[in-house]
Amino acid sequence: MTLENKTIRFLPCGDAAFTMEFGASVDRATNAKVIALYRRVHARAIPGVIEMIPTFRSLLVSFDPDLVNPASLQEKLLECLDEGGGEVSGGRSWTLPACYEGEFAPDLADVAKEAGLSEAEVVKLHAGRPYFVYMIGFLPGFGYMGDVAEPIRLPRRTHPRTRVPRGSVAIAGEMTAVYSLESPGGWHLLGHTPVPLFDPEADRPVLLAPGDTVTFEPVGLRDHQLIADDIANGRRILTAGEAA
């Protein structure tokens, strides 16, 4: 049962969910529409909607088929979509300290070589610019953030690592991310942040939300250690900056 409306496609995912696909490509404009609709529907608490997962260019909607049928829910979603603009505002903005030195930056030299730049130039291109959180997935708190500066856009590593340390700051294609848990991974590791992007013990276990903005601030090895110690001792609480 596929309903088509302009570029919107509704794709069935079993009898209790469907994917609302906004377009074929991954771009800010499309993603902004996804996040805007997600927030609007969430705020409205439409009966029958159980949960939604916003992604690059789609919104997975899980619903209770005993409360609402998919066709009328899809109509409601299209109405909601038509209502608003595709602007996303009000996300929080974060500045994350990141160390781009030594053992924290195992792929920095290779990335620099591939890009024909110095390591310092690569760091300058990666840090200090705001990245938009397109979606969170793959791991709890793993935000896919973009867009990375063109000169340092590289495909994933040909040989992924079986273990990427938690906190690793990485790039692949147009995206950058922080590995929120130790995990296998194929992205290029440029640095490391001591700030936990996922902390199962915290009141709010996940730091980021779709639509937030993240900027990396380079810190040296010693400051990285000091910040890590502060966090471990509960002496440092990261607060978000002004809304984007």
Binding site: L11, D15, T19, S25, E51, P200
Partner: protein, 347 residues
């Protein structure tokens, strides 16, 4: 404080309820019981709400010792039974009934020969934190349940009640879990990423649940599925029971601890009515798929809901079955000190 001390951890025993909802947009999986039917029944028999946190026992069940007070327990799972040791005497107790043990008593969960999962519920529930509204364990993220992980020998799980509520025990005839001949799926969301012959293969051939299967998903061994336009998609959301096919062509059915998003095409999704039956299947088991539409899937869901309501109605006081009282059984002075009495339920 009352608790259950883990004597033997079993293969993979975790605290689960019906799952953690509302955080998938942050990458936190739903987790929760693989077989929600038996979780609900174990809870009802123990006198709890259906959604309470209970012990999910996979493949090989755990053993506990009762620490302090008295504890009411109930086990639900096809063929599952309890081996209880009290005052040096061993009693086998069938599943699908509650029973009460005292401090020092031991209980071991034995899974049925044909089922991969069983649930042991404690009357009053487990005194563990609710993380984002749920006691479900997500082991990969060390989140929820008991310390975010499967149980280990020596763990002591705290209980809400120090003493079992004095009331009659509850029981029911072991339900007949009629399995669907084939697992029913709805094609999509990315069935257009597969060739016509791949879809025909998927819907006609037999697949085996491989040993590389766990709470995240069942990896299937069998005929590979051919992609029609590559095997990468922009990552999108994953529904429970989604069947993902990576570049290798080997399908994976994604389950309780599945990642929330993924970049491989999904050929179909198991219908909601067939998910619990699928979760009960053991590794090495063969299965095949049948494609159905939305209306048929909902008809199956309604039949399933009706069946479940009917079996819940069979729960009643154990005395109705004329079964020997467990305490009395243990108090009997028998030769050899071992009581080998099956506490059976008669209709």
């Amino acid at each position: 404080m009352s608790g259950l001390r883990v004597v033997s951890p079993g293969l993979h025993t975790t605290v689960q309820d019906l799952g953690r909802f509302g955080a998938q947009h942050l990458g936190i999986p739903v987790s929760g019981a693989m077989d929600p039917v038996n979780l609900r029944l174990a809870n009802l028999l123990a006198g709890n709400d259906e959604n309470g946190g209970a012990f999910e026992c996979l493949v090989q069940g755990p053993g506990f010792e009762v620490v302090a007070g008295s504890v009411r327990l109930a086990l639900a799972g096809p063929g599952a039974r309890i081996e209880a040791v009290s005052g040096g005497r061993t009693v086998e107790i069938a599943g699908y009934r509650s029973f009460t043990l005292m401090a020092g008593d031991c209980v071991t969960v034995q899974l049925g020969a044909d089922a991969a999962v069983a649930y042991l519920a404690v009357g009053g529930g487990l005194a563990l934190p609710h993380v984002m509204g749920s006691q479900a364990t997500f082991s990969r993220g060390a989140l929820g349940g008991y310390k975010g992980r499967p149980l280990r020998a020596g763990d002591e799980v705290p209980l809400v009640r120090g003493e079992a509520v004095p009331r009659a025990e509850l029981g029911m005839p072991a339900p007949d879990f009629a399995e669907p001949a084939r697992i029913r799926i709805m094609l999509g969301p990315q069935d257009d990423y597969f060739s016509k012959s791949a879809i025909e293969t998927f819907l006609s051939q037999a697949y085996t649940i491989s040993l590389q299967s766990d709470r995240m998903g069942f990896r299937l061994a069998g005929p590979k599925l051919e992609h029609a336009k590559g095997f990468n998609i922009a990552s999108d959301g994953i529904a429970p029971g989604a069947i993902q096919v990576p570049g290798s062509g080997e399908p994976i059915i994604l389950l309780a601890d599945r990642q929330t998003t993924g970049g491989y095409p999904k050929i179909g999704v198991v219908i909601s009515a067939d998910l619990p039956a699928l979760a009960r299947m053991q590794m090495g088991r063969t299965l095949s798929f049948q494609a159905v539409g939305f209306d048929e899937a909902r008809k199956a869901a309604a039949e399933f809901a009706g069946w479940f309501t009917n079996i819940k109605d069979t729960i009643r006081n154990v005395d109705d079955y004329g079964v020997i009282d467990l305490k009395a059984l243990l108090e009997q002075n028998l030769i050899g000190g071992v009581v080998d009495a099956k506490v059976s339920l008669v209709d």
